[in-house]
């Protein structure tokens, strides 16, 4: 992908025509389009070869033959696969993702409703993961082999290996069931439903914009448990990776040089070693964020969180292919988007990658 020139000519080409921004844009669009075509085609084919019958999903298992056949024709399933796919793609290009069987609504409307819920949860979870995981990892590397390092490693192992559904249920039982300090499952108390007009779909932002502070705090309370649970995984991963990246750097000679020069320990760690870790870390964090944006089916199910993970999964079980493809495209766009974002951050963090 992209405009690569034979080695040695890169510098020359970059400074002349076409300007680098054109190449970057071209790369961006081509990767977006390729991702889109690949995702829709594969999901489409999987949907059609699956043993589940999309017609039965709508008409039910007792439908008579006439009802079944009518729906079969209405869904265009009699046409060749490639034609079905082209019809689908041409509709999507016009902004029509089709209707979902499960919700009886346009898939696009569903995505607009379900995705912000996941975005909200994944963002908070990633933030928790970064702000706790990174310092933990750095600390563990600096004090390698000491009690803090062991503690971080145990936490890392825990977050990585404990099944999230178990953790979720136990956390609910303790903090909601026994201690009663946190609310139960749900994104917001049912009685607050409809109080805030959905603008962005992210309740925290919407309620803050409309100054519905009671709703805002209720939403915050509801976020604490699921986001913390989701964050344990992100945190464990980020802490572990930070630790190993930092260990690599701390054993380099330039660190020794810096120490010999008499620099303060904190500036050796954060100013020298950590700056070099940052580039790799951005990739890790980006990937973690993207995987959380796919939606976590288990967390969403346990906490009755109306997110995209649950949406895609229930749709898949019901052969609701329009919804599945729509959801998959959104997840794909997230991955591409985060890739672009981490590329940009990468350039900020590493002068060599700026290409000027």
């Amino acid at each position: 992908m992209g405009l690569k020139t034979p080695l040695g000519l890169e510098g020359m080409v970059n400074k002349s025509f076409p300007p680098p921004i054109v190449g970057q844009l071209f790369r961006l669009f081509s990767s977006l389009i390729l991702t889109f075509i690949g995702l829709t085609a594969i999901t489409f084919i999987i949907g059609r070869v699956m043993p589940a019958d999309p017609v039965l999903a709508i008409v039910g298992d007792r439908a008579s033959r006439e009802v079944y056949d009518a729906m079969y024709l209405q869904m265009g399933l009699d046409k060749p696969l490639i034609q079905q796919y082209l019809i689908y793609i041409s509709n999507v290009v016009q902004g029509d993702f089709g209707k979902s069987i499960m919700t009886a609504r346009d898939v696009l409307d569903d995505l607009i409703r379900f995705f912000p819920a996941t975005l909200e949860l994944a963002t908070i979870a990633t933030l928790i993961g970064v702000f706790i995981g990174v310092p933990m990892g750095v600390g563990a590397a600096v004090y390698q082999g000491q009690w803090f390092d062991h503690l971080v490693r145990v936490i890392g192992l825990f977050g990585y290996s404990v099944p999230i559904f178990w953790l979720g249920m136990v956390a609910l039982l303790i903090f909601y069931g026994w201690l009663d300090v946190l609310p139960g499952p749900g994104r917001i108390e049912v009685f607050y439903d409809g109080v805030v007009n959905p603008v962005t779909g992210i309740i925290l932002i919407d309620s803050a914009l409309q100054e519905e502070w009671e709703v805002f705090w209720n939403a915050v309370d509801h976020l604490i448990l699921p986001s913390t649970i989701l964050a344990t995984f992100a945190l464990a991963y980020i802490a572990r990776m930070t630790r190993s990246f930092m260990l690599d750097q701390l054993n380099q000679e330039y660190v020794l040089t810096a120490r010999v020069k008499g620099l303060k320990e904190s500036s050796v760690i954060w100013g020298h070693a950590f700056r070099n870790v940052l580039v790799q870390l951005i990739t890790i964090i980006g990937l973690t964020y993207a995987s959380l944006l796919e939606g976590s089916v288990l967390t969403e199910t346990i906490f009755s969180w109306p997110g995209i993970g649950q949406y895609i999964t229930t749709s898949l079980f019901n052969a609701d292919m329009n919804a599945v493809i729509g959801g998959t495209v959104v997840v794909g766009i997230c991955f591409v988007g985060i890739n672009i974002l981490s590329d940009a951050l990468y350039k900020l963090a590493d002068p060599r990658a700026r290409g000027d």
């Binding site: 043993p51 039910g60 439908a63 009802v67 919700t103 702000f131 249920m169 009685f191 309370d221 649950q310």
Partner: protein, 534 residues
């Protein structure tokens, strides 16, 4: 270690901040004018009464729409007029003339008239969605229905039966979801491309029932609002909320904490755990759902009458009912559920492995054989399959179990590709013909006939005598005679059919003790909220 200290402090600060947020809100329990239920509502895919055929959908439209005829919450055993005040059956038994109750209003404020009833019933036939067969079995199709269902005055509708079926069956059928009366003016104002308002009514409501739909957010919640103008008076609950909680363990926590008034999908284990808890009551309601086993008649071994009979003696009915099914299912061996009109309450079969073995030997398969058991992934189906598998192994039959989601299992069953399947069934409306038509009626057994909606066809059971008996019973006008015919039919069926009916379901409802008056009838679409008080 200075660094660590700093790290520890920042973590502590974060935790502190978190708890600051926590202390900001006290959790309100449910208000006294609102009923909140935790329920898995992912099966809700439409709210158009001409299309609804799912559990949650059936329950919701039961509370939004009044039907032409009804089993009312106060007495679920008696069929009475709903939107219709009374009816008259013509001398030849073919035409039923309904008189519409006066003074009824839709949620929109429009009066309920004969033209709405006419429109609602015709609409079901024209739209031809899955439950439409409940009406089209009376010989109505898109060409003749406009002549056969007619408003003959502002408040009278005449309905002419174009089949041999009895008027009694017709009246029962009009108490099903497809008998719901919709607001013609409102529905037609949302018509698009001649769809009779179908796209709109899927996610909206236009009825005259005790509640109207306020919100339906798929996979999130349904909110109903009381209709103060309802003919039975204003419901006590101002609002009813169905909260989608997919995880039963989360439902249990919610009901224990009092954050919901009822939990609808608890597992038997969880219900056991809640027994005796202060403030929690467990109700047991008999349901019309059956669990049965079907053998494929085209199978070289299972097609044998003696083998089929042997299978009836293999099943450990009591063993299952007293262990993992306790409280949720009881033994019931006929196709029409117990506790209803024309129910056959005898259970002639008990596990008898010696008898089963000798029957299999008699059929020439004494050395044993291999079969595949297909069933659903959800409890209690895998457990039942395992019990049957174990019992079969004792008579030398080696069974392999395949668990599938319904969406994969039903196509296999409909294509006659199963060997032995363990499945469930519940009637579409409260008349024995509903089940007889499915299990004991197969007028055309050819592959190309594709009567895929009927289990009798799916199992390739071509019994002309049984089919004729089912048709005759549906035609019979004399109620006493008709009941006797169904009892006979069920007795014969028990002995010869490729179906082994095993269990009838009951529903265990967990509620706060202050919630009273929740009525849950035998059929899936007879669940009433209007008598609920707190």
């Amino acid at each position: 270690m200075k660094l660590i200290k700093r790290g520890v402090y920042s973590v502590l600060a974060l935790v502190g901040l978190t708890f600051l947020c926590i202390s900001s809100v006290a959790y309100a329990k449910t208000p006294s004018n609102t009923l909140v239920m935790a329920k898995s509502i992912s099966d809700l895919i439409t709210l158009d009464p001409a299309e609804v055929f799912e559990l949650t959908g059936g329950e919701v439209i039961c509370n939004i729409y009044d039907r032409v005829m009804m089993f009312e919450a106060e007495d679920l055993t008696k069929l009475v007029g709903g939107v219709a005040e009374s009816y008259k059956i013509s001398g030849n038994g073919k035409t039923v003339t309904f008189k519409i109750r006066s003074g009824q209003k839709f949620h929109s404020g429009n009066p309920v008239t004969a033209s709405d009833v006419e429109f609602s019933l015709r609409r079901v036939v024209h739209l031809k969605k899955t439950p439409s067969f409940i009406l089209t079995q009376f010989g109505w199709d898109k060409d003749n229905v406009d002549k056969l269902i007619k408003a003959t005055g502002p408040m009278t509708v005449s309905v002419t039966n174009n089949s041999d079926f009895s008027a009694g069956l017709l009246l029962n059928a009009l108490s099903a979801g497809v008998g719901s009366v919709v607001d013609k003016k409102v529905v037609m104002s949302h018509e698009k491309n001649g769809d009779m308002g179908y796209e709109w009514l899927k996610t909206n409501s236009a009825g005259s029932g005790p509640f109207s739909l306020k919100t339906w957010k798929a996979n999130e919640l349904v909110v109903l609002e009381a209709n103060p103008e309802h003919r039975h008076g204003k419901p006590k609950m101002k609002r009813v909320i169905l909260r989608h909680v997919a995880e039963p363990a989360a439902q249990r926590l919610l009901v224990e904490k009092g954050d919901v008034d009822m939990a609808r999908n608890l597992t038997p284990d969880q219900i056991k755990g809640l027994k005796g808890k202060k403030g929690i009551v467990i109700d047991n309601n008999a349901k019309a759902g059956s669990v049965y086993m079907a053998t494929n008649n085209t199978h070289p071994i299972l097609g044998n009458a003696d083998v089929r009979k042997a299978i009836r003696y293999v099943v450990d009915y009591e063993g299952m009912a007293n262990s993992f099914l306790a409280g949720q299912y009881k033994v019931h061996q006929s196709f029409w559920p117990g506790g209803l009109w024309a129910s056959l309450e005898n259970n002639p079969f008990k596990q008898d492995l010696t008898k089963a073995k000798s029957l299999v030997s008699k059929a020439g398969h004494g050395k044993g054989f291999k079969i595949v058991i297909d069933t659903l992934t959800t409890a209690p189906f895998p457990e039942i399959a395992q019990s049957v598998q174990q019992s079969l192994s004792k008579i030398g039959v080696e069974a392999e179990i395949i668990l599938s989601e319904g969406k994969t299992l039903w196509p296999k069953y409909r294509a006659r590709k199963h060997e032995l399947i363990i499945a469930r069934w519940s009637p579409d409306y409260v008349d024995p013909h509903s089940n007889a038509d499915a299990f004991a009626h197969n007028p055309d057994n050819r592959q190309e006939a594709k009567l895929t909606g009927k289990p009798a066809w799916r199992t390739s059971w071509d019994d002309k005598g049984i089919t004729a008996l089912t048709e005759a019973a549906a035609r019979e006008l004399d109620l006493v005679k008709r009941e006797q015919m169904y009892l006979d039919l069920q007795r014969q069926f028990q002995q010869t059919a490729p179906f082994t009916f095993m269990f009838q379901s009951s529903e265990q409802l967990v509620r706060q003790d202050r919630v009273k008056g929740f009525v849950s009838g035998a059929n899936f679409d007879l669940v009433f909220y209007r008598l609920v008080s707190k």
